[in-house]
């Protein structure tokens, strides 16, 4: 008896072969999108903004209306930009793994996330029988709310900031720690051992990495002498922090990035939802819209951490030719892409490695950098 000879599968087109025409087409499309975006951006100041002035004056003169409009704007932005970020993440993952990513819904799969959001909205709302119902229901909102609040102080331009809080950095630190309350509630509420372990890990991780992150941010505060995020950007007029004060700011930025990854629960720090050991950690039991809230919070935090890095180290909204918010967006998306690059390159750490790395290396290193910055400022001041 003889087996039929092995036959190679017919070569399929993945788009990653070196087909010059294909690559040229992709490049041309990219350039066209970029040119269109820049044209649209430069047309923005020429629009008849005067027509909306009365509305703006009305909003500006009523504190309560003002606050509501700002809160609504921030909420809408946070919800909508995540749709784009999730699409970008999938495309990026596809690119890193030599596949195409979503391609079918909309142009290059651009509407895939919208379709997914609709699907999540329509799914059955499942609460496990023995779950702690109240905590289970509240947890997704507890996780999402702090992230939403942080966007209130993120300066997109000198004027595009919902609330220019003079203690902006402290506010950010205070609010982001509260995410761990939501993960604890989710981990406990589901009454599932994987959830509980994931929740406990997430909480321990966020609390530990908060410390070196805060000290790294404190170095920037010492350098600039202010905690206001807009002031910090304005002080970088003569040069980005990471260039102008490179000896201390490059290590500070590296510590900030590592801690940021840990706070975002992204690989290599995705231990709270490690699929291979914990199913999916604290949101194992969640589905439908509640699950979507966790996802929303996670991706929004991604954009926020990138935006904070840009504000602290890369001159925020500053840049030539283009309007300030566009520059802020470009830089932030670049840092988000860096997060994605790391996520799809590096494997996961073990729990003991994660804790040891934070307490034995990052905390002392951040304190050394903080002292170095303080000495530098004192020497420059005298």
């Amino acid at each position: 008896m003889s087996l039929p000879p092995l036959r190679r599968a017919a070569p399929t087109r993945t788009g990653f072969e070196c087909d010059p025409a294909f690559v040229a087409g992709q490049f041309a499309a990219g350039v066209a999108v970029l040119v269109a975006a820049i044209a649209a951006a430069s047309a923005l100041p020429r629009l008849p903004w005067r027509l909306v002035d009365p509305v703006l004056i009305f909003i500006g003169s009523h504190p309560v209306v003002n606050a509501l409009v700002k809160a609504l704007t921030v909420t809408v932005f946070v919800t909508v930009h995540v749709i784009f970020l999730i699409w970008l993440e999938r495309k990026f993952a596809g690119w890193m793994q030599a596949r195409l990513g979503p391609m079918h819904v909309g142009w290059k799969g651009a509407l895939q996330t919208v379709a997914d959001a609709v699907k999540l909205l329509m799914k059955e709302d499942i609460i496990p029988t023995r779950a702690d119902r109240v905590l289970f229901v509240v947890a997704p909102f507890l996780t999402f709310m702090p992230t939403l609040l942080t966007f209130m102080v993120l300066p997109f331009s000198p004027t595009w900031v919902a609330y220019d809080f003079p203690l902006g950095i402290l506010f950010v630190l205070a609010v982001t720690t509260n995410i761990s309350l939501g993960t604890l509630a989710a981990g406990w509420g589901a009454n599932n051992k994987y959830s509980l372990l994931g929740g406990a890990r997430a909480c321990a991780q966020v609390l530990s990495y908060e410390i070196p992150m805060a000290v790294a941010m404190l170095s920037v505060v010492t350098l600039e002498g202010t905690m206001s995020l807009t002031e910090i950007v304005k002080h970088q007029q003569s040069g980005w922090n990471i260039v102008a004060h490179a000896p201390v700011m490059i290590p500070a930025f590296l510590i900030f990035m590592v801690c940021g990854l840990a706070e975002l629960n992204r690989t290599p720090f995705d231990l709270p939802e490690a699929e291979s050991e914990l199913v999916s950690g604290f949101h194992t039991e969640y589905s439908g819209m509640r699950f979507a809230f966790f996802y929303l919070g996670e991706f929004a935090a991604n954009f926020f951490t990138a935006g904070l890095a840009v504000t602290l180290f890369f001159g925020g909204w500053m840049g030539p030719w283009l309007p300030a918010p566009i520059w802020f967006g470009i830089k932030t998306i670049a840092v988000v892409a860096l997060f994605m690059w790391i996520k799809w390159t590096v494997p996961r750490l073990r729990v003991d490695q994660m804790m040891g790395f934070c307490w034995k290396f990052l905390v002392p290193a951040s304190i050394v950098i903080f002292c170095a910055t303080a000495i530098m400022v004192m020497v420059a001041g005298s």
């Binding site: 504190p63 309560v64 023995r130 779950a131 702690d132 119902r133 109240v134 905590l135 509240v138 809080f165 003079p166 203690l167 402290l170 506010f171 630190l173 205070a174 609010v175 720690t177 509260n178 761990s180 309350l181 604890l184 509630a185 406990w188 009454n191 509980l196 406990a200 909480c203 609390l207 908060e210 202010t226 905690m227 206001s228």
Partner: protein, 185 residues
């Protein structure tokens, strides 16, 4: 802002602080009691905000919610034995605790009643930046010694916690599963 807006803000913050505070001591599920602390502490932060104490708003959220509340919940989750909703809610020390609390309450009430509350238009508070600078100077200048003493106290607590955690366990922790619905349906 008009005085009506301020009154409305104050009343809603007071409700936000007091209602969950009552829930904290009345709920049977000790973990729920921990989570009820969250709105109470946020309400206190809001009251600080109404007093233009910017730094305290953020410090309240950072320390009380971000650190202390999270640690309380963490500790509760690790010691599941105390979470049995059928356990009695008062302990053996109730006879000593009631007079202590009553005398504390009476003393506080006396102090509050004697305090000359300023009425009329208060002068504008300093900006958040100036307030923070002044507080920082006070903490490492005038009040450096009490500040450091507090640090030593916290350090002692930390060392004590490590010693307790390192102590050999006499009996293994019970793995009995507890119904965390709190007995309510």
């Amino acid at each position: 802002m008009s005085s009506l807006t301020i009154l409305g803000a104050f009343l809603s913050l007071a409700v936000l602080t007091l209602f969950p505070a009552v829930m904290v001591i009345s709920t049977r599920n000790i973990l729920h009691a921990g989570f009820w602390l969250l709105p109470t502490l946020i309400g206190v932060a809001g009251l600080y905000a109404m007093l233009d104490a910017h730094f305290f708003v953020v410090a309240q959220v950072l320390i009380y919610i971000g650190a202390i509340l999270v640690l309380i919940l963490f500790a509760l989750m690790l010691t599941r034995d105390v979470m049995n909703p059928r356990a009695p809610q008062h302990n053996r020390l109730v006879t000593a605790a009631v007079p202590t609390c009553a005398s504390m309450a009476a003393l506080s009430a006396l102090l509050l009643a004697r305090h000359p509350w300023p009425t009329g238009q208060p002068e504008a508070a300093a900006g958040a930046h100036d307030q923070t600078v002044a507080l920082g100077r006070a903490l490492i200048g005038t009040y450096a010694l009490p500040f450091e003493a507090a640090s030593v106290l916290l350090l002692a607590a930390l060392v004590g916690a490590i010693v307790l955690a390192k102590a050999p366990q006499t009996e293994p922790p019970s793995a009995e599963r507890i119904d965390c619905t709190g007995g309510e349906k």
